[in-house]
Symmetry: C2
Subunit: 187 residues, 2 copies
Amino acid sequence: MNLNVREALLEAARKAAQSHGYNGLNFRDLAAAVGVKSSSVHYHFPSKADLGAAVARRYWEDTAQALEALLAESPQPQRALHEYPRIFRKSLEDQNRLCLGSFMGAESEGLPDAVKTEVQVFADINVAWLEKVLVASSSDSPATAHQRARAIFAAVAGAQLIARSRSDIALFDELLATYRVSGLLPA
Amino acid sequence: MNLNVREALLEAARKAAQSHGYNGLNFRDLAAAVGVKSSSVHYHFPSKADLGAAVARRYWEDTAQALEALLAESPQPQRALHEYPRIFRKSLEDQNRLCLGSFMGAESEGLPDAVKTEVQVFADINVAWLEKVLVASSSDSPATAHQRARAIFAAVAGAQLIARSRSDIALFDELLATYRVSGLLPA
DNA sequence: ACCTGAACACCGTTCAAGT
DNA sequence: ACCTGAACACCGTTCAAGT
């Protein structure tokens, strides 16, 4: 039950942050969602900065795991690359939530340093994975793979941001399709 | 002096919102920046929702004007299209600020309806302008221009979001360059 | 017409007190 | 070890009171 509270807080805080951002997170609603008092949240996470950093760290850890699983279960690396946007699509399917990296990235100006650091790691692992897969699928030379990986990450994040503000998953799919026909993403 | 206070509030609130979002806006800091008391802000804008909506409306009005000016002063429409991302670049040059439409778009879940409406207009006028210019420069058929316009808007917004979270304008330029070589944006 | 101080409920935080 | 209530300073809001 003790560990469960901490895990439940991390999970509920992640969902809240993907919906309302770090600024939109608040201890009393979070505590209520888990069934404890707000002062109990401070026992597990002394400050909001600690909570935010823990949530962001867990988020990129989970993402790193999902990315490796995606690559492992794909017969060819092109297939993993093609499925990559599905990770962002799943956030939209889950109550129209935004990628935590995008939301906290937007808020980064006012974020505690510990949180900002974790958010940057999220971006780094996405770009590193894309770069690796682009090279493995030999659709790009190693020299251009890094630039291309960053552009894909930025464009997919942008598509999710726009589609989310309209609560329109079909728009996300259409944006991705246009990225493909234009050549930013491999067909 | 009276009108100046209202205008000064709108301007200061826009800057604050582009840095910290709607949730990061607060009446006391805003009032202090303009030199009045926080209760005076409520005289001009009864609620935070009113203030947010006024800021967002002014923002898309200014953007609409800038877009028309850009098109008017461009000898060819391709030229205006090429210069379009400069509008987003200018926000980064101005204290690393994010497009208000992107920030409030991310926050849209918790935004008052009046604010959300204005934010959507911002997206609409951007896409409509891009679509018009794409057709005029005959780089796209009318049938595909709309899809392409939305993809460009999403990708440029995403590039700004990523570059801003790194406080790296050069990254914005590199992302845009990659969009061009990949074919999403005309060379 | 425009501005202000005081008061209210809310939020992050602390801390002494519980079990 | 884990949880809680009470108290603090902060924020959006209201309102009576100023000019």
